[in-house]
């Protein structure tokens, strides 16, 4: 059994990469491996935007990752600085920046780049979806 870290640098909706990453993650779990965590960087941080909405007959990848994370206890991690630059802030961040609103999607956490390095260091493999 291997422990796998996933890095997603592509945005939800505009790119199909995230869907492929989720298929991969599900296949890993079905094969008996574990996903150590999913780290979102660059445009990938958009997955953590609570304001993403879709009609019911459209795919909703940000929410699908939420479900996957909850079902399999997999952390969904956004790089905090990359997220802030792209307009995604948790409550604490928003307060620090003097903003009245925050928009971090439930189930996602904003953490530092160092945490991705630690995640990657302890996982057997890291796979990027671009």
């Amino acid at each position: 059994m291997a422990s796998i870290a996933i890095l997603i640098t592509a945005p939800p909706y505009d790119s199909g990469a995230s869907h492929r990453a989720l298929c991969f993650a599900r296949a890993c779990v079905a094969a008996g491996h574990s996903i150590a965590g999913v780290f979102f960087y660059q445009a990938g941080v958009q997955h953590g935007n609570a304001l993403i909405t879709h009609f019911s007959d459209e795919p909703h990848i940000a929410r699908d990752w939420q479900t996957f994370g909850k079902d399999h206890k997999v952390p969904l991690l956004l790089c905090i600085s990359a997220a802030n630059r792209r307009g995604i802030l948790g409550e604490t961040d928003a307060k620090e920046w003097g903003l009245a609103i925050s928009n971090l999607r439930q189930g996602y956490q904003a953490i530092g780049l160092g945490e991705f390095v630690s995640l990657s260091e302890t996982a057997d493999r890291t796979v990027q979806f671009n």
Binding site: Q42, S81, L113, V117, S118, E121
Partner: protein, 122 residues
């Protein structure tokens, strides 16, 4: 779960002024090195533009790539490679670029990448 140092290759593929990719790639590389991973940087495709000398980054309102790349030795990042073909395709020669970057042919670059535990492309 054991911790061990990984040999990580970061491939820079974008020009400095074209997008944020170059800066975010360097950030990740530097943080990885701070966490004691063995970091290599590969400049491929438009990524070779990050190495150009004589750029006015202040005017472009972006981070000074020449200075940042020059400071990489302080992070113990010394394995820097660029793709010869990418360089030539863009009409560049080594004297137009920062010092200390090893120029590699496609084949040599491939083998070098294969000698890493993890390859991240930005």
């Amino acid at each position: 779960m054991h911790k061990h140092m990984k040999r990580i290759a970061f491939i820079q593929t974008q020009a400095p002024m074209a997008s944020a990719a170059g800066i975010e790639g360097l950030d990740m590389a530097m943080v990885s090195a701070t966490f004691e991973q063995q970091v290599s940087l590969f400049f491929i495709g438009d990524g070779v533009h990050q190495l150009r000398l004589g750029q006015d980054y202040a005017k472009a309102h972006i981070k000074d790539f020449t200075r940042t790349l020059g400071a990489l030795t302080f992070y113990d990042i010394e394995r820097l490679y660029l793709c010869r073909e990418s360089m030539q395709q863009r009409g560049l020669t080594p004297d137009a670029l920062i010092d200390g970057i090893e120029v590699l042919d496609t084949e040599a670059l491939s083998s070098k990448l294969a000698a890493h535990d993890l390859v991240i492309s930005l």
